[in-house]
Symmetry: C2
Subunit: 343 residues, 2 copies
């Protein structure tokens, strides 16, 4: 295998209603079957009229940007200073929902294509109508967690499988590969970016020689989108931490407490909770218990000691919640009983 990455030059300015297939084949009459066409989402958005009119400057411009961001946001993932990272309605996690003010006149913002897989399918069909059997990837520049610098990834695809699955293959040492699914459309997008400039109006590149797999030409990139529940980084660290504090504020007294599958785990968790809270709680309150409950009684009968007992009881609940346990708090005039178990 041997690949070529070829820029498509001379496409020029793209405006709403433009026929991308015509523009691209005009600029690249050398396109041929089995090429992989990587098209920057910006020109797809422009051709599709995914533009928002905004004031060229001033606070009205900022307000219009905020409104555009809100309309493109399914949920906010993280915020810090001027940066807002959101999950878009497509499911992509991107800063500012991928809304961009570069490579467009100052009175417009460019939104992502409404359905970038559909955009890729349409362009592929338009090229097929011209007798070209190619794959189409719609790409954009994206930031990542943990690493500085941006890379291009795929927002849409047609005529190519997004993932190349190596699972089940046997390496030369006889080991079966278990986890390796390569996001080849992202790698193709990254490869194409290397020949595109950010300001050079080279919004399309061609990867030639790549033996694409096509088990479902219309499956698109949805398979690359990890839903928030199965994502270990579905929320920013600060946001998840604050949610933990909020959850500590609203543990309900009457929560259902399940039986322990493993009493030893309950005992160990209770021990850790006592150690954690013991470092900061003023002594006085007496605590006895077992693997599924603690009984807190005051050291004397001063009102302040009773108030402190309540504070300590809730601290213990927060510590047990951090261990993943549900708790129920029963308060009486002699003290409080904290029951805990499986959530």
């Amino acid at each position: 295998m041997r690949l070529e990455i070829l820029p498509v030059e001379g496409i020029g300015d793209v405006t709403p209603g433009d026929d991308l297939a015509e523009l691209i084949t005009g600029a690249a009459p050398w396109l041929r079957d089995d090429d992989v066409l990587v098209v920057t989402s910006k020109i797809v958005s422009k051709a599709e009229g995914r533009l928002v009119e905004v004031p060229a400057d001033g606070p009205e411009r900022d307000e219009a940007r905020v409104r555009a961001l809100e309309s493109e946001t399914a949920r906010v993932v993280a915020r810090r200073g001027p940066t807002t990272i959101v999950q878009t309605h497509h499911g992509f996690v991107m800063a500012a929902a991928g809304i961009d003010a570069s490579n467009v006149d100052k009175t417009h913002l460019v939104l992502l294509p409404a359905d970038s897989d559909a955009s890729a399918r349409r362009l592929r069909a338009d090229l097929a109508a011209r007798g070209l059997d190619v794959a189409v990837i719609v790409s954009d520049t994206m930031g990542r967690a943990w690493r500085n610098g941006l890379t291009d990834v795929a927002l849409g695809a047609s005529g190519i499988d997004a993932l190349l699955d190596h699972r089940g293959e046997i390496d030369p040492y006889g080991n079966e590969l278990s986890l390796t699914q390569m996001a080849v459309v992202d790698e193709l997008s990254a490869a194409a970016e290397l020949v595109k400039g950010k300001c050079d109006q080279v919004p399309v590149a061609v990867v030639r020689g790549y033996p694409r797999r096509v088990s479902d030409a219309d499956a698109g990139v949805r398979v690359l989108i990890r839903d928030a529940e199965s994502d270990m980084f579905g929320l920013g660290t600060a946001e998840a931490h604050a949610q933990g504090l909020r959850d500590a504020a609203v543990i309900t007294d009457a929560a259902q407490v399940g039986d322990f599958a493993d009493p030893e785990a309950g005992m160990a968790a209770a021990q850790r909770a006592l150690e954690l809270v013991g470092d900061v709680a003023t002594p006085g309150t007496q605590i006895v218990g077992s693997f599924d409950h603690m009984r807190l009684t005051p050291g004397g009968d001063e009102p302040a000691g009773l108030i402190r007992l309540g504070v300590i009881a809730h601290r213990l609940r927060a510590a047990l919640a951090a261990e993943g346990f549900a708790t129920r708090l029963e308060i009486d005039d002699q003290g409080a009983t904290l029951r805990f178990g499986e959530a």
Copy 2:
């Protein structure tokens, strides 16, 4: 610009002590100046002897893997089921610290190179000694947050700037680009992966025609590593949430409370905290306050009411901590005063 991506075939098995420059130039006598050589970290590790002997199976193998992971881990970022994502001593955030059991015999694990930038520098120097002026990238396959599928990225580099900085460039519409720094060594690694197989023993690929920038040949990939403090995803969502709960358990009564720069913000936060806690707290306790404190008094003189007052006080502290405020709790025999302000 026009790139070629060329696989280097026939390198075969690599063992500790092997001279990679010799193996690579032997397999690719067609290498020439200005090529970018992308070398899979696995063969670098093997040549450098970064192998750990492990039993071929059984619980001893699992234990040896756990020990290897611990030794390669600077800090744990997230855990879920069998998956542990850590930050390595190099600063990379990777599942299992990049330790791999594929493409090696069953009695060894392969660790990442100890210093992958140094590995890239050495190989580049060895190739320079053979009269070749190339860039060298050491790459590996990595998962990402938010997107399924893996891509190859750079763990080390020499003779090429890791980032290509477009900041300050002016687009055709007169907009200055502000945020665009491309991680080109990651994109080159991804491009190279497209011609490597996972089981085909093609551990090296060459990118030809890329006009690399070299402002500091020895800077390596350190510039790509985002430190945990400036990373909005420095900890897994579940881990950060649990840390919030733990922090709620240990808010110290005697915390220093700063003055409010903005009393209105304090008032609004207090209001939100009361609303949050009010939904779950049993009535009885009376709360009056202002922008920087709340005074809690019991509805009557039953001990249970005093205990509940303590619970409510700590709930409010957790809610205020979620808003980013420090609190101090002063308990007396008539009730409790919660002071809050800038942390």
